[in-house]
Amino acid sequence: MENNEMLESAILEKLENDLDRLIMTYLTLWINLESLHESEETEILDKLLLKIQLNLFSLSVLLKGSKYKNLDNIYDIPSIFTLSRTLIENYLTIEYLFVIKNKDLKYTTREERIKSYKFAGYKNCKQIANILKDSKFEKEIADILEKLELEIDVILEKLENVKKKDFIKPRMGCNWNYLIEKSKLNTKLYKSRWKIFQTMLILNICIMKG
């Protein structure tokens, strides 16, 4: 039993060190990506990379265990799972926008995917502005959406058999399972991990019950 505990602790320490090393390498790369500010496309990539960084920092902290008053080593598994899922979704969004080949997404080019992604994002912002009753913010978003809609109409004129309502759906209607299959994460093992995250609520309950 004692040997098992030592082994588990050595594995965790190795995983912790590997993750820290990977995060540092990633940060070195990101800091040196001067070309990220050259175009609209790469600015979106920059924002997504930043989101992933924040995910990783928080995940790394939670995985090491936190402390509250007299309670040590708190492993907030529900939050760890939620953050892991967000990390995968942000990663898949990067693959969807910048890596997946056009033929795998039927008809769209990278530029078109980015337009659609922006439109879906600003549409969400408009709903938030509406809930907050911030009329100035709402007007700003409405102006951006109007401009984007004109650009999308020009794109749709060239595309056959594509309906506007489908084009402006988040990720043009591609679900996460489909994106996993088309991504670099398309391995049997990873797909099973993804299924766990999809059903994480059930698993969390199981963990709580022991």
Partner: protein, 82 residues
């Protein structure tokens, strides 16, 4: 006094409950899995960045090429561990 005793008792019960939860062995499995997931994602992300921006390798950061090779092997290793 009785109220205080009740309060102390319920606090003790709460701590016992949460301690049982946080030290549950299944939490360890979850942590290991999430370490692996984060490791795989970040390794792939680094490879993607290097593919999208090959100039990083060409210019002043040639040493990253070696790191890239290490990362790919780290990624394979993580997959093996999974």
């Amino acid at each position: 006094m009785e109220n205080f005793s009740n309060y102390a008792h319920s606090e003790y019960m709460y701590n016992e409950g949460i301690n049982e939860y946080i030290s549950n062995p299944k939490a360890l499995v979850g942590r290991k899995m999430c370490y692996n997931v984060a490791g795989v994602i970040i390794s792939q992300l680094i490879v993607i960045i290097l593919e999208l921006f090959p100039e990083i390798l060409k210019d002043k950061y040639k040493e990253l090429e070696i790191e890239k090779r290490n990362l790919v092997s780290a990624y394979n290793m993580l997959n093996d561990e999974l």
